[in-house]
Symmetry: C2
């Protein structure tokens, strides 16, 4: 297992972690500069942040700063209530793929969508099995597009508390079943993003990491689960502040040959988004060395 205690070569910052600090959006160009100034070598930007900064300009800045990507956030949202929505999501996913290619991402991360939105944003129905069938259809379609561009897709199972509104793929077993069905050769085109926040509780976690193996392990995201958790979406913890045995899971992932980044992704309206962005990045570095 790699020793992270003395350097942060394998730390990546998911840029949502410092998306808005003290009420103000922190623009992506400044985030990238602040990362590079601290010797952080990798990031995972979000599409809206890239759009605000400009795709070509972001690609240039990444090259100039010698910053790698650990992933691109995000494609997916494959569930739909009508043909218009289906066409729109396909167009949007094609654009996400193209952006990932322009930025040199190692993979496009997929958050697959929950129950489809109907009128006024309400779920169009309650049939989660039907939503899951649309996800299978959507990933199958996108995989063809992705293969053409040689862009790997990383399905991210989301915590079951997001099953209705964000992603109806909720366990690694489910994600790997989908991978095996659509990409039986496991040649690297389709895999999973293991985000500890979503999967730490899973009694099958160790078994599913082993099942995934090197070929399917495309990304590894870290943060922590706080007690108490005060908000379902925006109360993630900094590594070390919660109850996830982060290092134990990293050991499992590395035992399969995973040698990539630990990507810090923290949504924290109640704490870290209220602080200075530089302080957050410094804390990520320190905790990555001590707790990841």
């Amino acid at each position: 297992m790699r020793d992270f205690s003395n350097d942060h070569r394998w730390l990546s910052i998911n840029t949502a972690t410092v998306r808005r600090q003290r009420g103000e959006p922190w623009p992506l160009p400044q985030i990238l500069d602040a990362c590079a100034a601290r010797g952080i070598r990798a990031v995972a930007p979000w599409r809206d942040q890239v759009a605000a900064a400009g795709l070509a300009a972001t690609a240039r800045q990444l090259r100039a700063l010698d910053l790698e990507l650990s992933g691109y956030c995000r494609g997916g949202m494959f569930t739909y209530a009508d043909a218009t929505a289906r066409q729109a999501l396909r167009d949007d996913n094609r654009r996400a793929l193209d952006e990932a290619c322009t930025l040199g991402a190692p993979c496009l991360v997929l958050v697959v969508g929950g129950l489809p939105r109907g009128l006024a944003g309400h779920p169009a129905h309650k049939d989660i099995a039907a939503a899951r069938a649309q996800v299978t259809e959507g990933v199958a379609w996108l995989l063809d597009e992705a293969r053409t561009r040689r862009m790997p897709l990383a399905i991210e199972p989301l915590h079951p508390m997001y099953a209705a509104d964000r992603a109806c793929i909720n366990t690694l077993a489910q994600a790997l079943d989908l991978c095996d069905a659509l990409d039986p050769a496991a040649g690297g085109a389709l895999g999973v993003a293991v985000d500890l926040y979503h999967v730490w509780w899973d009694p099958l976690l160790a078994a599913m990491i082993e099942r995934a193996g090197r070929a399917r392990l495309l990304a590894f995201h870290v943060c922590d689960w706080l007690l108490p958790t005060r908000d379902l979406l925006e109360d993630r913890g900094m590594m070390g502040d919660g109850i996830i045995d982060i290092r134990a899971v990293r050991a499992l992932v590395e035992a399969q040959g995973y040698a990539g980044c630990s990507e810090v992704e923290i949504f924290s309206a109640l704490d870290w988004w209220r602080r200075d962005g530089g302080e957050v990045l410094d804390t990520c570095i320190e905790r990555h060395r001590r707790c990841v």
Copy 2:
């Protein structure tokens, strides 16, 4: 599948649903009277409510009102940080069993506990596998005590968002594995409580209900999952107000021969606990007919 649209013979009220109304505890004797006055035939009381009303008095009142129990809440909390805590939880579970017998409960519902509490209420460690091993040990021990008293135990898998602090049994598959390990004969001594709030998202839900079969299906709890959910613990929805396809799951359970109650258990500090208790009960009856 039974038709509930014209009567509520198979409605049970978990008394936490009306535990405190408009800031004041609603005493159990009044809850029981209010249920009986509405033709509700079953309840599932909590231990603290029974303790406040008196065990013998509660048993007498239940008989006088001809109210059945659909379960008794609750035993469990099997994880411990030291020998003192272990002894205390065993003593407490013995008392819970005895109370369940006195009240004539069909089963004692088990919420198994999360990471053990250490100093100042903080988790004593982050090893959820160790916590799960203590749960196995605890259920095995309690099962012997329960067999002596002929009191069935119903393991309730809790939603993964409670894995750290309330229950580290988080899926029906996990609960059924435990049942099969400790009670391979499936003679009725050990089973599961299927609470829709906790399991609705599970991609294996239908398969696990079938696997459970009649012998393991000891209780069926209903409420709804709200969008958005504003609190992890106390923002459960009234049936029909959320996204769970309740009737579809009841069909699965009844297809296995389950013919017991649908027990309404709603923790709702943000809505239903703020209303008059009678209004809540009336709504439970109406929604049970229309949505369950």
